[in-house]
Amino acid sequence: DPDERAFQERINAGGKIEPKDWMPDGYRKNLIRQIGQHAHSEIVGQLPEGNWITRAPTLERKAILLAKVQDEAGHGLYLYCAAETLGITRDEMFEALHEGRMKYSSIFNYPTLTWADMGAVGWLVDGAAIMNQVPLQRTSYGPYARAMVRICKEESFHQRQGFDIMMKMCNGTDAQKKMAQDALNRMWFPSLMMFGPSDENSVHSEQSMAWKIKMNSNDELRQKFVDQTAPQAEYLGLTIPDETLKWNDKKGGYDFAEPDWNEFFDVLKGNGPCNQERLQTRKTAWEDGAWVRDGMLAHAAKKRAMKVAAE
């Protein structure tokens, strides 16, 4: 197929694909799946942190957390817009989320149980997200790449804020240190899972790499994340809950234990600690809000009609 060849050559040459350009069906579908899942993750990702906004310990921490959650909603907005350029509407994506046909990142199916989790989410979860996202600034689809540029800037800010909370906790009272260690214990392996299983077991990987909508292998990114995070944990005086973790001079990186992939697949199937509640919260919000959306649409239509009549 000459179209397909030209398309691939353009990508190989580092060119960007734009909404009106020809693209293979699989490229379009894969991107919708990937961008949509990313957008849903930003939206559902508001909930674990939102869980502590009303319990933030100081006014400043409350403000920082609010700003962060607002940023995440904003990221969701960029990403839904990017996906919409591929011929799907935001409402269709919401529907797919609510019916379980589209996913969001499994990490948000874990609970936030103490204030230290607000630190750990920023440090580990945003940290892992950035590992994934930075290369995607160079992804082949233009709107997606541009959304990523904006998002990455804010995410790295969030990660620093998370680390800052962890610092405060680790330099705080015994109870605060205990909270910080407990948060790390619970979130370490789920964070490693964020990169997905080994690419050997991944269906989409090879084609996605060729299309440059996936830039690195899962194992590669996971290694990079561990190499970055282990010294930070040491600096904080925290112990990563992995007795096998140690520096390997030969490979120039850390050896570490794999997460429990059975747990990963359980969570994916809907059996994570919070799957049911996260999805229900979103569905309830959507259903309870129907009258608002209807009202706003009706008002906008009346205004348009009046404008037309006046012209």
Binding site: I43, I53, A73, G289, A298
Partner: protein, 252 residues
Amino acid sequence: MGNDALFQTLLRLGDNTLILGHRVSEWCGKAPVLEEDIALANTALDLIGQTQMWLGYAAEVEGANRSADDLAMLRDVWDFRNILMVERPNLDFGHTMMRQFLFDAYHHALLGALARSTDPRIAEIAAKAVKEATYHLDRSAETVIALGDGTPVSHDKMQTALNLLWPYTGEMFESDDTDAALAAQGVIPDPASLREAWTATVQTTMAEATLDIPEDSFAHKGGRTGKQHTEHLGHLLTQMQWLQRAYPDARW
């Protein structure tokens, strides 16, 4: 009186923004539309920012070695000075936005007057905050109009919200000796003097929203004096203050 009157007044200003900011923040991740999620978080953020300024100044004026955070996190219900309306639960989105509008219309007028306060700190804070309040008012008025004028269902919900909230609006224009003393010095406006501008805003907006303003003038009160809050405030405090109460020697 002197300092104590100023302290009480600053608590009234800061507690209003603190408690309303808290209520608005409860929507996080649950708004009917994504754009509203962002806007509500933004409003809450502005209100918490204003709280830091008002309560920060209050703490200085008190001179009792308390911080803005101490004031927010370590007082019990009776020491709060916010009006009752802002502590009401969110109920539905319509109630939340109607409450926001009724408050914004007042807050905008109040901050405009406070920007001309004879107390330079108050004037400075108000000058900054009034810009945010202008934006809040534009937005909440627009939403109230859209939903009032929208469908029969949204119209009914907004009318119900207005009826429910109406008896809580009168407290904004109440005054006592504290107000009188500070108004005489030009530190704050006489609360009653704000009613005209507020009423004008409300009438215009409700007309566009096709909503009927209730005629009953009964007004609940007890919040800004601290004499009798609603039962909701205590529940709000259990959440807001738990961490500080549970770990009194921690720094965050």
